[in-house]
Symmetry: C2
Subunit: 328 residues, 2 copies
């Protein structure tokens, strides 16, 4: 099983992540082998498995930790994540993800709709088989609801030149941060911590998730398409204005408005100009500062977590710092 190199310093975690991948693989069974293979290759395309990793790490804080259960729940979270990616690719009309063709580009939107639904259902099945209580399923489905309202919120804000930082954070809190929050919460809660402790873990996950998404959005303005594994500033053409651009719009509406009003018909030169304007108006730096605020909130809260014999706290500090200072 190929695990992302970022985990090689944490052999126990790497082993559990390999088990997680293996569990997902075993669960995905379709008569249509083409679609099965497509879903499996998406799972094996070298994603970082961040959400399962956080879930597994936070499960170290409970007194009833059980590897089989922890990895199964980690698999269910990653299946949910993969389901949302497959559907996001339909909505974003994305042909490439992580350098590989997307399911919708290979098999068409139709197959991608059902492939995503199928993974949603696999996630629920796994959750219901391994969760300790109905309450856990209730909390899970509440999180999923937040993720979807975040996605729909983002669609709603398309081409909105007056989008505020607050609205951006609201959408991000749903569409990205909620799944991080859920991973951390479920990890702790299902290993037997108190609900209060688990909620604190969820809060940490939420701050990590917000910082993570801001950094992802910053990378659109600092990386080449080759490094990113997807086209640069594709989002802008689709009317999704992320944090660096929102800050730039506040600073320099006069030059940016006429460009953005071209919507889908933005040329490559226009995109290059937007790219430059976002940098010159300080949009990137301001976004970096806000990401740092959320990162620090998360790191401070991790510092306050209790010690475990597996040195979980230090690992959490390390990986959180690593992913939130990433440059690709």
């Amino acid at each position: 099983m190929n695990i992302h190199p970022m985990w090689e310093n944490y052999p126990e975690l790497a082993t559990e992540l390999a088990t997680t991948l293996h569990l997902m693989e075993k669960r995905i069974l379709l008569k249509n082998k083409d679609i099965e293979t497509a879903i499996l290759s998406m799972i094996h395309s070298g994603g970082k498995l961040l959400r399962p990793a956080y879930q597994l790490l936070f499960s170290q804080f409970g007194k009833n930790r059980n590897v089989e259960k922890a990895t199964a729940l980690a698999a269910s979270i990653e299946m949910l994540h993969t389901a949302t990616l497959i559907h996001d690719d339909i909505v974003d009309e994305a042909d490439i993800r992580r350098g590989l063709p997307t399911i919708r580009s290979t098999f068409g939107n139709n197959t991608a709709v059902y492939a995503g639904d199928y993974l949603f259902v696999c996630c629920f099945k796994m959750l219901s088989n391994y969760s300790s209580s109905l309450k856990s399923i209730q909390l899970n489905s509440r999180s999923m609801e937040k993720i979807l309202t975040g996605e729909l919120g983002q669609m709603d804000s398309r081409y909105n030149l007056d989008m505020t930082v607050k609205e951006y954070i609201e959408n991000v809190s749903g569409k990205t941060a909620e799944l991080f929050a859920l991973s951390c919460f479920v990890g702790a809660y299902e290993s037997g911590t108190s609900e209060r402790f688990a909620k604190n873990c969820g809060e940490i996950g939420s701050n990590i998730g917000i910082a993570f998404q801001i950094i992802d959005d910053i990378l659109d303005y600092t990386q080449s398409s080759k490094t990113l594994g997807k086209p640069v500033l594709e989002d802008v053409r689709q009317g999704i204005y992320s944090l660096p651009l929102i800050y730039a719009l506040q600073e320099n509406p006069k030059e940016l408005h006429p460009l953005l009003e071209k919507r889908e018909s933005l040329t490559d030169d226009d995109i290059a100009e937007i790219y430059t304007l976002v940098h010159s108006s300080g949009g990137v730096i301001k976004a970096q500062n806000l990401a740092a605020d959320y990162t620090n909130k998360a790191l401070n809260a991790i510092e306050k977590l209790p010690k475990t014999k597996e040195n979980t706290k230090q690992i959490l500090l390390d990986i959180t710092q690593t992913i939130l200072t990433r440059t690709n």
Copy 2:
């Protein structure tokens, strides 16, 4: 609340179905009011609410029937059904359903993807809030898995000129019958019947669902597009060969193969010829006979159910006979 006229002879059931609709309405809350309205108008577009009706009727057999719970679970089943319809309309590129524009035709496929996902999640949330046990959620998610593998199975069989009756029944057992089975099972089980009794109810639902889908597919060959509220034989252009055509293909491959090999480029005249050939090869009559077999299986099993003071058995016999002899 507008309830389909088929329920007017059953005032108690009609009241509970109105409550079910109301519960769905209350649960669908989105910031984007356009999408919210679109989902709500789909819910209010005069569907028969068959699945909730069966669920509510079968819940009369348990000793712990509770109206609040029964209607909430009925709402969750109907939300699941609506979610699958919204996604089916994307896959089928359908512009019209029940005489109204579909969500994908009004808002685009993108919105329809998330709108369906949102309803899936609402369904899970409601299920997890009202089910009595994790086991119930497990059985629910197993059913949902069958529905999705049925949908994917049908996609897999597109343009297959050698499709067998067995394969057709397999796909239908998943994509349509499973939700009927689930409705009947959950209705009984969650009102406190034994699991064995509830499984028998699920079996009845499955037979009803198979007969229901066969009749739906027969109507494509016996109704005008106006009566159906959707274009006639659209399925055939998309390579979905249903039972009447499968029987006809066995009888008269020589005339049908060259026509069907035109796939998407079938003209209206071709469609008219297929329509005639399916009738002349006895495809419609054979399909009607098979539907009658499943209908009779269901009716015989209903006959054997115990008496309730609400006369549930008679209502089940009546409505099952009504919907399985429908001509539109």
